[in-house]
């Protein structure tokens, strides 16, 4: 079974993503903070990571830190970054750090799942 790490500070989004992906064959871990996500990444090998860009306040960029960390510790994982407050600068930085998909919120769960499935089917980085 594929392992998914979900990272978002908003419980409702986390809940919805967790339920959706769990029902679609993923083993899901949920993190709400940067340090929690990093601790999970140290202890578990994930196939897919879906992270919100901002975990503490609007405009913060913890998602980019997690992306950098995952690329170091779990380079084969697919990484999807979600944000409601995208800027070209942030998007450029995410690409530079090796994000697989940069998605603007809100986005239907089915579409996120479709993008994830496409990424998972492709060759590993």
């Amino acid at each position: 079974m594929k392992r998914l790490l979900l990272i978002d500070d908003e419980e409702t989004i986390l809940f919805a993503l967790d339920r959706y992906f769990s029902r679609n064959g993923f083993t899901v871990d949920c993190a709400r903070e940067l340090e929690e996500a990093e601790a999970l990444a140290v202890c578990t090998s994930y196939d897919l990571v879906i992270a919100d860009l901002s975990l503490t306040e609007n405009g913060s960029t913890e998602g980019l830190e997690i992306l950098r960390y995952i690329r170091r510790t779990c380079p084969a994982a697919r990484f999807i970054l979600l944000t409601a407050h995208a800027t070209a600068l942030v998007e450029h930085e995410a690409m530079r750090r090796g994000v697989d998909a940069f998605l603007h919120k809100p986005r239907p769960l089915a579409e996120i799942a479709r993008i994830a499935a496409t990424l998972m089917e492709g060759p590993r980085p």
């Binding site: 500070d9 419980e11 993190a31 903070e33 340090e35 990093e38 601790a39 999970l40 503490t56």
Partner: protein, 286 residues
């Protein structure tokens, strides 16, 4: 809406961190007998922190491993005190905690006294992940621990920063061998060589080796052949809450709960189960 309450707030709530106890079994002199209990931390149920590896990795990243260690020690003593008899308790502590918590030993002794646990029955398993402590403070803390009558074990020798340098510094009474070395040792000469090396090291300095993560009879025989007769793992018992452990054969037999001839040569005690054989992890004993 952004969260204002962090996971750390939840972790430090009273009762959020639970302790389970796993028997360490003595196989010498016709054992098996209960030798000691290791306290293992579990974070809040249903959270990612329920896994101890994640819990402590998170604590380290938050820079609060000392705070979490002290909570775990207190919870471990509370759980241990609820059990009948005079067993022994082993509890993990980061070396950085020893060096950073002012009056560490006094706090542990005070806590043990509060739960009516003799400090002589307590062993601290030193866990090392990063060499961040002041060597002088660390040594001072170790001396205080010994003076208070507590024992010292070195956890997971050979793993991470738990190296020979720390072994020399700690001069441990016990050496814990990680499950990654123990599991599969019967079929792997490289693992057997490491085990033989640690067993020899322990003998040379009058220390006692304890093998963790024992899950098969084949590995058990290999350990015994190598002279390692203190073992811990699912082959004998999983970690469980004190209330459940109190109902297990370790504590339920009429002669229980005295312990095996061990650290201080106390008289022998109870068998592992009512059938006189090791209990597999999947077997419920009550």
């Amino acid at each position: 809406m952004k969260r204002t309450r962090t996971l750390l707030d939840d972790l430090t709530n009273p009762g959020a961190i639970r302790m389970e106890l796993q028997p360490i079994v003595d196989l010498s002199d016709g054992g098996p007998r209960l030798y000691m209990l290791e306290a293992l931390a579990r974070g809040p149920r249903g959270t990612t922190m329920e896994r101890p590896d994640v819990l402590f990795e998170y604590a380290r990243r938050k820079g609060v491993e000392a705070q979490i260690d002290m909570i775990c020690i207190a919870e471990a003593l509370a759980s241990f005190a609820s059990l009948p008899g005079r067993s022994r308790l082993s509890v993990n502590v980061h070396s950085s905690t020893l060096a950073s918590v002012e009056g560490f030993t006094r706090k542990v002794v005070d806590c043990a006294t509060a739960y009516d646990v003799d400090p002589h029955r307590v062993m601290l398993e030193i866990v090392e992940h990063h060499n961040r402590w002041s060597a002088a403070t660390f040594q001072h803390a170790l001396a205080e621990i010994r003076e208070a009558g507590m024992r010292i074990a070195l956890d997971d020798l050979g793993m991470g920063a738990s190296n020979y340098h720390l072994f020399v510094d700690c001069r441990p009474d016990h050496i814990k061998i990680d499950r990654s070395i123990v599991a599969g040792c019967s079929a792997d000469p490289w693992r057997r060589a490491v085990l033989a090396s640690v067993a020899g090291l322990a003998t040379a300095v009058g220390s006692t080796a304890i093998a963790e993560g024992l899950e098969t009879f084949a590995d058990l025989k290999t350990l015994q052949d190598l002279g390692i007769d203190k073992v811990q793992g699912w082959l004998f018992a999983r970690a469980m809450p004190a209330s459940e452990l109190a109902q297990s054969p370790f504590f339920r037999t009429p002669s229980s709960p005295d312990i095996a001839p061990g650290i201080e040569g106390e008289r022998s005690g109870n068998a592992v189960n009512q059938h006189g054989r090791p209990v597999r992890s999947q077997e419920k004993t009550h």
